[in-house]
């Protein structure tokens, strides 16, 4: 049973990667003959990156952190936007909450339960709740205006430029509690004596956090980074539930692109899958080496 499963994993991945270099269309069996007959080299990749829906960077010459988002559109840049923002916000908010939770507060269990429950929900559920809240028709915008705040405007999910940020909000609502829980476990794992020593040394608490505790939590932080990033790379259900890629295709993401191309444009799908595999590998391999490399050597 396990051997079959492993076979599926290994062969499946290899097939996908190999046949991303072919022009086969639909219903292949993935035989060597098909591969030789259909081999087209990097043509799929060339086409993929020339497809606006995947990635369009008219101003790619002045890549800068600040305006990258605005000059590039398409599924891949959308994913990068989502990944960068959700990591930045979920990690900083999660850390803040964890630090506050660590101040010997009352009702810690209640707060923890509240912050973490969204993580139990699926992305589809999360997405539909937020789609409802953010819907301009009856949601937050309408309600605020009804309460007398006429200029209040919150129509992000209908705005091509802002829609990804709307998805980020739902994403951090779902995932921040989890980051908080991991961070809190990390904070609690720090030797009590370190805190005592820093008090005897007269180091203010905030400096102890920044200069001593955060560096000590590096393994936890790396793990969190990997988990959040790999989640962001795979983002699919959340987008489907909130906008289904809309308005137009302005919130399309790689997984959705791949899935939609399976029937009509298999080569594109396979090559896009391979791109994701590579993206994931870039994030994961250093981490795996760090986490598990030590043990297997020992």
């Amino acid at each position: 049973m396990m051997l079959i499963v492993l076979g599926v994993f290994v062969c499946g991945t290899i097939w996908t990667v190999l046949f991303s270099f072919t022009n086969i269309k639909i219903l292949p069996i993935f035989t060597p003959k098909e591969w030789i007959d259909g081999f087209v080299g990097l043509a799929n990749y060339r086409r993929l990156f020339n497809t606006d829906r995947w990635m369009s960077c008219p101003a790619i010459t002045h890549i800068g952190m600040a305006d990258w988002r605005f000059t590039c559109t398409g599924a891949l840049p959308n994913m990068v936007t989502y990944a960068v923002l959700s990591i930045a916000i979920a990690v900083s908010l999660g850390f803040l909450l964890a630090v506050l939770m660590d101040q010997k507060i009352r009702a810690e269990g209640v707060f923890r339960t509240i912050y973490l429950y969204p993580f139990a929900l699926s992305f589809v559920v999360t997405g539909h709740v937020w789609a409802w809240i953010m819907s301009p028709e009856y949601g937050l915008q309408a309600s605020m205006r009804q309460l007398g705040w006429d200029s209040f405007s919150f129509g992000w999910i209908a705005d091509r430029k802002m829609v990804m940020y709307a998805i980020v909000i739902a994403g951090i609502w779902q995932g921040t509690g989890f980051v908080m829980a991991l961070m809190l476990a990390g904070l609690r794992g720090i030797d009590e004596d370190i805190w005592k020593a820093s008090k005897v040394d007269g180091i203010p608490a905030w400096r102890t956090y920044i200069q001593i505790v955060i560096p000590m939590m590096k393994p936890v932080l790396v793990t969190i980074f990997v988990i959040v990033t790999s989640g962001a790379v795979r983002i699919y259900d959340l987008v489907v539930a909130i906008t289904d890629g809309g308005p137009g295709i302005s919130s399309d993401v790689p997984s959705r692109y791949i899935y939609q191309n399976f029937s009509a444009n298999l080569g594109q799908s396979l090559s896009a899958s391979t791109v994701m595999l590579v993206a994931m590998a870039i994030v994961l391999i250093p981490w795996i080496r760090m986490e598990f490399g030590k043990k297997s050597q020992a």
């Binding site: 991945t13 101040q103 429950y117 709740v129 988990i227 994701m276 795996i288």
Partner: protein, 300 residues
């Protein structure tokens, strides 16, 4: 202390503290504001589901319902339309049950035995095996989707419940096996040796010694599998076929089918119903949930 007066004014006993310092105030204020942010969607979800459609359209999402009604709930469960038919989300609920139960049982059964073998009965290629497992738990699903379509089609089960069950079982195995292997490897080796000296065999040791000691890890992996499978959307869409769509997919279809305008109250009731199984697991299992989810968060 030279005299009584100076003794009275020198610090003695616990340091006097004001009832609440401004630092404490800030801490609680931030925690409470964040808690409101996290609770707000739940509140809105519940309130909307108890409103009538007229109240939704005229009212305000923040305002509690004045005329609570279960109409939206019964409609969501029993008669909401998905675009194909109008039987409500109960179809999806039972499909999800039919998918989740067998794939959880099979994957945990296989994974626990495999993990036990990897940890205690090293064989020739166990290291290679382990490495592949590790990589397997991280491979993005999209890479495997098409090959699995081919495989299930060749097996003649594509677009059936069996296909989703098979796919969930396959994808659950690597991470589950890792979980069990690491747990079994952390148990004292002497236990295993003592059992062998006492004459217990492969299965005897597993069932009589390891399984009874492993209730926590079984709990963790059941939570991980059940919530993971219940919350899945992608595999359901691809492999199950329209009549077997799990709850998440049904929910999406109900919300997106716009026959006769959007019924937000029904949508929210259906949303709550979909979320209720994992939420219940979360509230009941507490710390095991965090452990299970932490283990599962890295998978493909």
């Amino acid at each position: 202390m030279t005299n009584a007066a100076s003794f009275a004014t020198t610090p003695s006993g616990a340091k006097p503290k004001p009832f609440i310092t401004w630092e404490r105030f800030v801490v609680y204020a931030v925690l409470i504001v964040c808690a409101l942010f996290f609770l707000l969607p739940l509140y809105i979800m519940i309130m909307t589901s108890f409103k009538s459609m007229a109240e939704v359209q005229s009212g305000n999402i923040f305002v509690p319902t004045l005329h609570p009604t279960f109409d939206a709930w019964s409609k969501a469960w029993d008669s909401a339309c998905t675009g194909l038919y109008c039987e409500g989300i109960k179809v999806g609920f039972w499909n999800s049950v039919k998918i989740t139960v067998p794939s959880t049982i099979v994957s945990i059964a296989v994974a626990s035995v495999t993990g036990y073998s990897l940890a205690n009965w090293p064989f020739k290629f166990s290291e290679v095996f382990f490495t592949i497992l590790l990589l397997g738990s991280f491979i993005p699903y999209v890479v495997m989707i098409y090959p699995l379509v081919i495989i299930t089609r060749e097996l003649g089960i594509f677009s059936t419940l069996w296909a989703v069950i098979l796919v969930h079982t396959i994808f659950g195995l690597p991470i589950q096996t890792l979980l069990f292997r690491n747990y079994f490897a952390s148990l004292p080796q002497e236990l295993f040796k003592a059992a062998r000296v006492d004459g217990a065999g492969y299965w005897g040791i597993f069932f009589r010694i390891f399984v009874p000691m492993s209730v926590p890890i079984f709990t963790v992996s059941v939570i991980l599998q059940v919530t993971g499978i219940w919350n899945d959307f992608l595999f359901g869409v691809i492999y199950a076929g329209p009549t077997n769509y799990p709850m998440t997919v049904q929910l999406n279809n109900i919300v997106n089918s716009s026959m006769g305008g959007k019924a937000y109250n029904v949508d929210m009731a259906a949303t709550i119903l979909t979320g209720i199984v994992p939420l219940t697991i979360y509230f009941v299992s507490g710390k095991y949930f965090v452990r299970g989810i932490a283990a599962g968060a890295v998978k493909g």
